[in-house]
Amino acid sequence: MEILLSQLFNGLSGGSILLLAALGLALTFGQMGVINMAHGEFIMAGAYTAYVVQNLLGDAGLSLLVSLPAAFVVGGLLGIALEALLLRRMYHRPLDTLLVTFGVSLVLQQLARDVFGTAGVDVAAPAWLSGPVVVFGTAFPKTRLFILALALVAVAVLASLLAFTPLGRRIRATVQNRSLAESSGISSRRTDRVTFFVGSGLAGVAGVALTLMGSISSNLGTAYIVDAFLVVVVGGIGQIKGAVIAAFVLGVAQSWIEYSTTASIAKVVVLAIVVAFLQLRPQGIFVVRTRSLV
């Protein structure tokens, strides 16, 4: 019973990490069809931001709270730079953006190595996040509870942003029909840029969260990027709720399969599940606009 509960929690927790990593990706992918392989490196940039902030401020608790907005801005600025310098000219070639951003990710990783050194660095978790909370005899690590809460807050904020603000309406309009939105006076250029800022900023926030879990090094992002993309693929285009469901389902599946087999097999089985799922429901993914067909 205890192990049942703690495995369920581990799955949800794994899902919340996936969700944080994938949320911004779902936004930029859905909005612009851009496949941003450098998203993982934006996560890394967020993590290093937390490291720098902690070195400046010292206090772990305060610096965690400062890091979250700081990393959001750092990630967002990187996103805007990427959008303005490279991606802006490539919206009609979505597949090529994958290769371009892969190049960006290689460069950012090497930059991180040259700036912060190849050795991993540590960001200390604040005292109020250390250790577990024990409920019914099951221990729940506080850091994981924090990340779970952070992911849910991020989803809530993003969802209300999309639902209730003028910006959100513009984003939704562009996701559904770019040319129609443009012809009805929405500046998709500006919307794109803001979307990229928000989406990449979320990657920065994910990076801060990851400092509570593991090592901060130049290849931090590569560990999450493929899984994050799978979440987006399963979740469907421009669907925040799809990403939420997909992240938690994949997280729980991973942790359950891992419990009964091994971590390696779990990863492979989860991929098989994704392929099988796409056999059943490519619709969440496949939208035909018959009038234009392209």
Partner: protein, 417 residues
């Protein structure tokens, strides 16, 4: 398309290939006839001699291997400043192994065949060593490998200056047994070193009445240890034996602490965490945990004090020294000793002279075993302290003779297949 012409071309080329194959190629069975190919092209006629350093300067292993490169460089500079080897200055040819076995094999061949170096120093992962081994054997060249490893290997062309299993894993088990551990949980990365190490641990445990309560492997680079830590916690063993590699250690120890597990209640003995890695894991997450090596920066000896001081002078005060760095440093001096004893740079002469060559290393006196090409080393169990350094908690007292195939341990019979 002119299919017929292309077809004709293919046919002609295939035919010529067949002729080549059947005509002058040697069969596997007459391999001895081609030993001449291994003739060395090392040039020792001038006032200098070339040696090769082969470390990962890029990729995931660069973190660790850069430090080895630095200490190799330090040793070479010191040797050159003191007059070189047999009066010849050392010229370093450095290559990047890029953390990939294939690249290690390719670069090793380049160093031996292209640059004609007298010996190669480097490698870290077992994969890199195993990838290089056939290259050194077929070219009859020398590799000095500075990292503790899983044993069960002995090549005439490799000198192993890190610990083999009976100098690290077996003493670590002795230590845990002495401390009263009745049960163990094994956690490791999914590759050859942890798997071989765990095979040895299980054989030891069986012979010593220790229960192994679980054995878990994580893929290399795995970062979510919630499930594995849950299993460790549920099993409730007396201690954990940790053979995780690299970044995984960070995620594991953070998870371990956050799950409420402590070094006092359930110590985690690690064999791949040295001074260099402690900072990245975060001292708070790992303080008080035991590790097993043959060298710590805190060793109180004149040789070590000088080594640490020289290293900090060369690379900065913030740098720490660790076991593989010391073993790499030592390996260059051991090679120097072998050359001076043999009065020759030739591989065959060095192999003949190697046995008994000894060096007052920072870790203490080490001596080369001429039969298995490993070195006798003293095992030290240390504990990680608040200052990020490791302090010796237990020692084997004297150098342990290397026994890569564990022939002298009755419980290990049958392990080496």
């Amino acid at each position: 398309m002119n299919i017929s012409s292309a077809r004709r071309l293919v046919a002609v080329a295939t035919a010529s290939a067949m002729v080549l194959l059947s005509g002058c190629g040697a069969r596997v069975s007459d391999d001895t006839a081609t030993a001449g190919e291994g003739t060395s092209c090392v040039d020792t006629s001038g006032s200098s001699v070339k040696i090769g350093f082969l470390n990962s300067r890029s990729g995931t292993m660069a973190i660790s291997e850069n430090t080895v490169y630095n200490s190799l460089k330090l040793a070479a500079d010191q040797i050159n400043a003191a007059g070189g080897v047999e009066g010849k200055q050392l010229t370093i040819v450095a290559e990047d192994g890029a953390s990939e076995p294939t690249v290690f094999a390719e670069k090793a061949e380049k160093l031996i065949r292209g640059d004609c170096v007298a010996a190669v120093f480097g490698g870290w992962t077992s994969s890199s060593r195993k990838a290089m081994l056939p290259v050194f054997e077929s070219n009859n060249a020398l590799l000095f490998y500075p990292v503790q490893y899983e044993g069960l290997e002995s090549s005439k062309n490799i000198f192993y200056t890190g610990a083999t299993t009976n100098q690290q894993i077996v003493p670590a088990l002795d230590y845990l047994k002495e401390k009263g551990a009745k049960s163990l949980f094994l956690v490791g990365s999914d590759y050859v070193f942890p798997q071989t190490a765990n095979k040895i641990i299980k054989a030891y445990a069986k012979a010593n009445g220790i229960e192994v309560k679980g054995e878990e492997y994580a893929p290399l680079g795995h970062t979510d240890f919630s499930t594995i830590v849950s299993k460790v916690k549920a099993a409730g063993a007396d201690a954990v034996f940790n053979t995780l590699n690299g970044d995984s250690n960070v995620a594991f120890f953070k998870e371990y602490k956050n799950a409420g597990l402590t070094a006092e209640a359930m110590p985690v003995l690690s064999v791949s965490i040295a001074e260099e890695e402690v900072g990245g894991i975060g001292i708070g997450n790992i303080v008080g945990q035991p590790v097993a090596w043959n060298y710590y920066q805190t060793i109180d000896s004149p040789q070590n004090k000088k080594f640490v001081a020289d290293f900090k002078t060369a690379y900065g005060d913030a740098k720490v020294t660790s076991d593989p760095m010391e073993a790499a440093y030592t390996s260059l001096y051991l090679w120097k000793g072998m050359v001076e004893k043999a009065k020759s740079f030739a591989v065959a002469d060095i192999q003949k002279a190697a046995g008994g060559v000894s060096f007052e290393a920072p870790e203490g006196t080490v001596t080369v075993n001429g039969d298995n090409h490993h070195i006798a080393k003293t095992a030290l169990i240390g504990k990680i302290a608040q200052d990020g350094l490791i302090y010796t908690d237990w020692t084997s007292g004297k150098p342990i003779e290397p026994d890569p195939f564990l022939k002298s341990y009755p419980w290990a019979a049958g392990l080496s297949g």
